[in-house]
Amino acid sequence: MDTTTPDNAAPSEADELWNRIKGFLKGELTPAELEGMTWEQAAAIAEAGCELAESGRLEEARVLFEGLVEMNPRDAAAHAALGTVYQKLTLLPDALRAYSTAIALDPLHPVALAHRGELRLRSGDDEGYGDLQSAVASDPKGETAAGARAAAQIAAIAQTSVSRSEAEQG
């Protein structure tokens, strides 16, 4: 079989694949781009992961989200979702790391901000309050469960602070 391609010919399928492999080896492309994985496919896998986590099959959910993160380390949503699975598995340092990675990729990611904020506050780190505020600012209508949760947390803190303030004054 003659596999040579004239220089002025359109790139063949083989050339396309080769360029992806090359881009991947140079660190320019993610494994998802190498394999041809689209966002829709990732979203379908994530949906399955969400369902598994919801039904308590956390190890399986973890496999899916770890796989998504491995395939596309640039997907903030996958990191954040993986963080919630780690959190449920009580792997809190891993959860914090996952949320922080998500926030580094997308500083306005409400899921990562809300959950990192909560974890930080629970561990006595008052920086968590800023995370909660950012989560609410980025999801003011509470469209994500995390955003709504952050708003509720802030409301509880504010209420406590108001009461505390009143007590201090009175």
Binding site: I21, G27, R74, V85, E143, I157, T160
Partner: protein
């Protein structure tokens, strides 16, 4: 003034009346009424710093909010979640190639009927036009089928509708169809289903649209302004950079413009291999190349070592220097090979594991 007072005053000043705010938050966001009461009851015991208060309040709120964090896949708005995924067109799934057929058919038909002045065509296709086309016995069967396809896939229809200007106005223009076709045609065969090129559509986290296809799952709000302006995000890829030997492309520095080297063409052009198998085979061949380089360096070291025996002191010193350089090169090659192996192995394992679990669960999700 303590931080509690500050927050309290801010809350009272900006959010006054706080009770109303809490009530509003409670009802709008699902904050159970118990949270504020519990927080108030806890007040008497609160004597620590802000972190303690906040931690306590968060703990109470969390238990009132029924336990753990919900797992949700919330794509970054503004399309930045698409980064790192395979290129895609117009946000339309085309898993079985039917979309292309449908769009192409409708474009030809409605262009024609438009010229003929048919009431069906006026350069724009509404849902009503599609319904009429799908039902009418006067319409060719392939057009009926194409119309039915778009009617049966409303999410896809919206994405075709919005191809030109990103807005769903209920009317598909010839330009919309043309753009979708161009985008679909730009997809190389390996990319499989085409995906999303525009803003993420949907009203919330991980919801399914009325089409049962798993590829029509849309996550994330539309046009949520405060969220999604992440174009300036620092993106740090953790993809390991490994050996790049043999990856040069002459003067062309752009990796997208290279021809596949002859040594890989037999693999890349093999019709019996899947894309996955081709990738693995090429990576394995590159790893083999690294092995050969390592062996070559080891041979050179062995050769130098045996020649050194009969050398003068001066020549021996030069040989030592060469040997050090070879050792350094060997070390680098070995490290590179190790990285390459770990990368291949890790990706392959994670990919396979994820695929297996996904296949088992996609149908159930």
């Amino acid at each position: 003034m303590s931080i509690f007072s500050t927050i309290g005053k801010v809350a009272q000043g900006l959010l006054n009346p706080m009770g109303a705010v809490i009530d509003l938050a409670g009802s709008a966001l699902g904050l159970p009424a118990g949270v504020k009461n519990v927080a108030k009851v806890g007040l008497g015991a609160v004597t620590g710093n802000f972190a303690t208060v906040a931690s306590g309040a968060v703990g109470l709120a969390s238990s009132a909010l029924k336990g753990d964090a919900k797992t949700e896949y919330q794509p970054s708005a503004g399309g930045s979640s698409l980064r790192g995924y395979a290129p895609s067109a117009a946000g339309v799934s085309n898993p079985d190639g039917k979309l292309r057929d449908a769009v192409s058919t409708l474009q030809v038909y409605f262009n024609d009927v438009d010229k003929l002045g048919s009431p069906l065509g006026r350069g724009l296709i509404s849902k009503g036009d599609l319904v009429q086309a799908a039902k009418s016995s006067k319409v060719p069967p392939q057009v009926r089928e194409a119309a039915r396809y778009l009617l049966d896939h409303p999410a896809t229809r919206d994405l075709v509708d919005s191809a030109k200007n990103g807005k769903v106005d209920g009317l598909i223009s010839m330009k919309d169809l043309d753009l979708v076709l161009r985008q679909l045609d730009r997809q190389p065969p390996w990319s499989g289903p085409v995906g999303h090129g525009g803003p993420v559509h949907g009203n919330g986290p991980c919801r399914k649209v009325d089409n049962p296809s798993p590829r029509d799952i849309h996550c994330g709000p539309t046009d949520r302004k405060p969220y999604g302006h992440s174009d300036s995000n620092t993106i740090t890829t953790t993809t390991t950079t490994t050996t790049t030997s043999g990856l040069s492309c002459g003067d062309n520095k752009k990796s997208s413009g290279c021809r596949a080297p002859d040594s890989f063409k037999s693999i890349l052009n093999n019709p019996n291999l899947s894309t996955e198998e081709k990738i693995q085979a090429v990576l394995a061949q590159i790893a083999d190349g690294a092995d050969k380089e390592i062996l070559d360096v080891m041979d050179q070291m062995s050769d130098l070592s045996s020649r050194k025996a009969g050398m003068s002191k001066e020549d021996g010193a030069k040989t030592d220097s060469s040997m050090e350089q070879l050792q350094l090169r060997l070390q680098k090659l070995t490290e590179r090979r190790k990285q390459m192996f770990e990368l291949m192995s890790n990706i392959s394992n994670k990919y396979n594991e994820m695929s297996n679990h996904a296949i088992q669960n996609l149908g159930k999700a």
